[in-house]
Every structure is written in structure tokens, then in C-alpha cells.
Amino acid sequence: MPRKLLLVFILLNFLFVLAGCGKDPYAIEREFWYLQKKAKSVYLNPDASPNRQVNKIVNALNNFAKRNPNTTLEISAEFSIASLYIAKKEFSMARQQLQNMLIKHKDSDLVSSEVLFFIGNSYELEDKWPQALSKYKDIINRYPTTKRGLEVPLYIAQYYKIKYQPDKMKEAFNDAADHFIGLSQTYRDKPLGFTAILLAAESKYAVKDYQGCINVFDSALNTYTDKDMRASAMMNKALMYFNGLKDKAKTKETLQRLINDYPKNKLAENARKFLKELEKK
């Protein structure tokens, strides 16, 4: 009897283990994790990694991508290959890989914008800013509504800031603000349009154009009907009066308007606290 029981037990365990050998999403994730681990060893020490090792990982990643088409991990594997080439400073190979990705995933704006950004990055790492800039501008023109498309205008301005080029930085922030204002008009009364409003204000704030910021929020208040967006615009406007223009009276007035217009909004609670603090001062 105990032997039979033990046999059943072993058989059950074996069946479970067998079930775990199949190619399910988890097995694919696991395979990719181990490939990434190998790739990581190259990123950490690219100079000491022989080309043969890199090629082996590239082949494995390519195989993986081919075996798992139309998955996010396929795209991640393809990006990993480009990263490996970049780590080894083989920029033309990396860009070739990325160009292939651009053709392969041309229907996905999200992937295409990321690929273009990666190409731009590869030029930046090679100290070829004009080529990088042209790729970044490509993203702004072709994929303005993607996450990357919304980030790149400010990324360009930040580049000039880091490189101590104030005139170009100012120009880039102003260009960014114009781009976002244009975007907000195209996507009027939509969440994306409101995000563009906030980014336009951020761009103007970066060059200390506080009045410009307030005008942006005023235009949002004239255009948007959504309660949460309007409350957010009012709160941001109040903060601009307080931090930028140092106008306490206008800050109080805007906060009071927020409380009166949207008393139940969660931002109204913050506005009340803020107002209380201002009264104390």
C-alpha cells in the first residue's frame, strides 16, 4: 500500500513537472531573462567581452525574436541586439539593426518612435549631434502623440542646457512651447491636448516666461470643459503666480476661484490648505 501511494505521488509530481516543460508565456519570459542576463555581462564590461561572445548572444537573441513574433519580448530582444552593438561601439551595425526594426514595425508608432530615438542616441554617443537632432525632429514630426514624441522637444532643450548653450536652449524651449501649443489646439478638449498644455507651460517656465505660462493656462480654461482638467489648470496657474510672479493676491484669488467652482474636487482640498498657509503668512 505505501509503495503504491509513493508511486502515485511520484507520478503526480512527474506529471506536474512535465506540464511545466511546455512553451507557455512564462517559459518565453524565462528564456528571455537568461538571454538578457548574458547580454548584461557584455554591457557591464564591453571591452573585455570578445566579439565571438557578443555574436553568440546576438544570434541567440535573433533566434528568440524569430521564434516569438508579435510579442513585446520580440521587440525587446531586437532592442537588446542594438544595445549590444552600441556597447561594443559598433554604431553602424546598431543603426542597421534599428533600421531593420523600423521597416519591420512600421505600423506601430510607439515602436517606430522608440527606434528613431535609439538611432538618435547612437549618433549622440558618437558625438554627431546634427544627425541625432535630425532623428529627434523626425520623431516630433512623425510621431508627435507618442510618449517619446511628447518627451523629445524637452529632451533637445535639456541637451543644450547640459552643454551650456543658453541661446540654443532658450530657442529649443520656445520651439517646444510652440509645438505643444499647436498640439493642444489639434487635440482640443481631449486628454492629450491637456497634457500638451502642461508641457507647453513647463517649457515656458524653464525660460522663466511666467506670464506666458499663465496665458497657456488661461487658454486651457477657455477651451476645456472637463472639471478635473479645469481644476488642475487653476491649481497650476495659482502655483505659477506664487512661485513665478510672487503675486500673493493673485495666488489667493485663483485658489479661491478653484474652491468656489469645484468645491468637491480633490484639488480643492489642497487649495484650502494652501490658502490657509498663505493666510498665516
Binding site: 506536474f16 506540464a19 511545466g20 507557455d24 512564462y26 517559459a27 524565462r30 531573462w33
Partner: protein, 291 residues
């Protein structure tokens, strides 16, 4: 016993090891428990994979979040789920098997014949009492751990940055919480250790058995506590490794967590529990003989 517990303890260990070595029947309940626990560990290990994922993924998502159904983050959760599983198994099945082992130990000590089937059915009659004792023990342990966490949280959320001159980070993570949890577990385990022998060998009702166990524990505090602490120390490396899951995943391989968990199960089910059960039963019997 009180005068020279170190020598008695060594004798007790020697006797327990000999009993286990010479009587395969005595070891059987622990082997059965280990096999059941191992089976559940395999299920937990494969719970993120098809077909088990259809059942377990929604549960993991609901309680801990989506990320823990993916590789390798599922291994961060593995020791936690394994410990829950062990807790449930120890109450539901472990109680019965511990009772059985206690009965077999007494039979061997009194040189009576050992019949597994008889022992099983005799223990089954007292299953509710045994279940109750282990349920109460685990409940106390659970709330003790929770209470300590809550007290520390309340204390530090008031703005204090240190307690007994020890900074906050040492209280939230590191050797202090491990030692605190370890000491609480050892103390509770030691206080409850004679409850099962009282039920199985003296036919005492469960609540009275717990009270009598407490009394006996305090009477033989040094030897009982040393016995439990020494045996539980074997498990300490597993406890420490279980707190370093992220480090282990990054520096070895994720499946290493499963190896550590199985090692923990081997240590606790096949070494600590048998020695603890046999030694405590022997102590109980010897106390009875003295009285």
C-alpha cells in the same frame, strides 16, 4: 534535570537520534509530511505555468499584483507562499502526524509493539484536539509577528529615527527583525511543545493541555528553551536566505530560491520536527516518571 541541563540535553539528543535511527516507523509520519509539503512546493513552483496558471494567476494578481506572475518576480513571492502552505499543512495534516509520532515514541519507549495503523486511528480520534492546539499556536505566532510590526510602525511613524539607540533601517530590515521573529517563534513553539504529548499520552482536553504545557515549559524552562533554540538554529540560514531573495536572484539564478525553499522543507520536516517531537515526548515521559 534542572541541576545539569547541558548534559541531560546531550543525552536527550542522543536518545532521540537513536530512537529515530533504529525505528523507521517513527520516522514515517515526518517523511509523509515532507512528501506532502514537497508536492505542494512543486505546485507553487509551477503555479505561474500552464495549466496551473489558469487557477493561480488570478489569485496572485488579486493579492500581490500582476508583476508576481512573471519570471523572475514570482520567485520573490515563492518563500512567502511556501510558508503559508506549510502553516496550513502543519495545522491540517501536521497535527495528525505529530500526534501519531508522539504515540509511536511513547510505545517504543515503553517497549510496546508499534502498529502504524493502530497509531493512526488512535490519533485520528483526537484529531480535533490536535488541530485546535496547532491552530492556536499558529494564530498566536501570526498575531505576534503582526503586533510587533504594528508597534514598530506606530513608533517610527511618529517621527522617531531610532529605538534603543538602533537606527530605523536596522529595525525594518536586517538581523534585528530576523532575530525578533526567530525568538518569538522559538518561545511560542517551546511553550506549546508539551501540549500534544498531554493530549496523546494523558488524554487531556486541548485547552487544559495548552495550560499544562505552559506550566511544564516554565518548570523545565532552560532545557526546553535550549532544545527548541538549538534545533531551530539549524533553520536560521534558510531564514536569512529567504530575506535575501532579490540578491539571490540577481547573483545566482531565480530557481535558486526554490532550492533554498526545498532545503528549508528538508531541514524543518526531516530534521528539526522529528528531533523536537521525539525529544519533547521523551522529556514529557521522564517528567511523568519522576513525578
Amino acid at each position: 534535570m534542572r541541576k545539569n541541563p547541558a548534559i541531560k540535553l546531550l543525552d536527550l539528543f542522543g536518545q532521540s537520534v537513536n530512537l529515530l535511527k533504529n525505528n523507521r516507523a517513527l520516522y514515517l509520519p515526518f517523511v509523509i509530511f515532507f512528501l506532502i509539503e514537497f508536492f505542494f512546493l512543486i505546485i507553487i513552483f509551477l503555479s505561474s505555468r500552464i495549466p496551473l496558471s489558469y487557477i493561480f494567476n488570478p489569485i496572485v494578481k488579486a493579492f500581490w499584483g500582476e508583476q508576481f506572475i512573471h519570471f523572475p518576480l514570482n520567485f520573490i513571492l515563492l518563500p512567502k507562499i511556501a510558508s503559508f502552505s506549510r502553516l496550513a499543512l502543519s495545522v491540517v495534516i501536521g497535527s495528525l502526524l505529530s500526534g501519531m509520532a508522539t504515540l509511536i515514541t511513547a510505545n517504543i519507549y515503553y517497549k510496546k509493539s508499534v502498529n502504524l495503523e493502530n497509531s493512526f486511528f488512535k490519533t485520528l480520534k483526537k484529531y480535533i484536539a490536535l488541530f485546535f492546539i496547532l491552530f492556536v499556536l499558529n494564530l498566536i505566532l501570526y498575531f505576534a509577528f503582526k503586533l510587533i510590526g504594528l508597534v514598530l510602525f506606530k513608533y517610527f511613524s511618529r517621527g522617531s529615527r531610532e529605538l534603543f539607540f538602533i537606527p530605523l533601517r536596522f529595525w525594518s530590515y536586517g538581523p534585528i527583525p530576523i532575530l525578533m521573529n526567530f525568538s518569538i517563534a522559538a518561545f511560542c513553539q517551546a511553550a506549546f511543545i508539551y501540549a500534544i504529548p498531554f493530549v496523546m499520552l494523558d488524554n487531556v482536553k486541548p485547552i487544559k493541555a495548552i495550560i499544562k504545557s505552559f506550566a511544564l515549559f516554565f518548570r523545565y524552562f532552560r532545557i526546553t528553551f535550549t532544545l527548541v533554540i538549538l534545533l531551530m538554529l539549524i533553520y536560521l540560514p534558510v531564514l536569512i536566505l529567504n530575506m535575501k531573495t532579490i540578491y539571490l536572484i540577481e547573483n545566482t539564478f531565480p530557481e535558486f530560491i526554490m532550492i533554498v525553499t526545498i532545503l528549508g522543507s528538508i531541514l524543518s520536516s526531516l530534521i528539526i520536527d522529528p528531533l523536537l517531537t521525539v525529544a519533547s515526548t521523551l522529556l514529557f515521559i521522564k517528567n511523568k516518571e519522576t513525578v
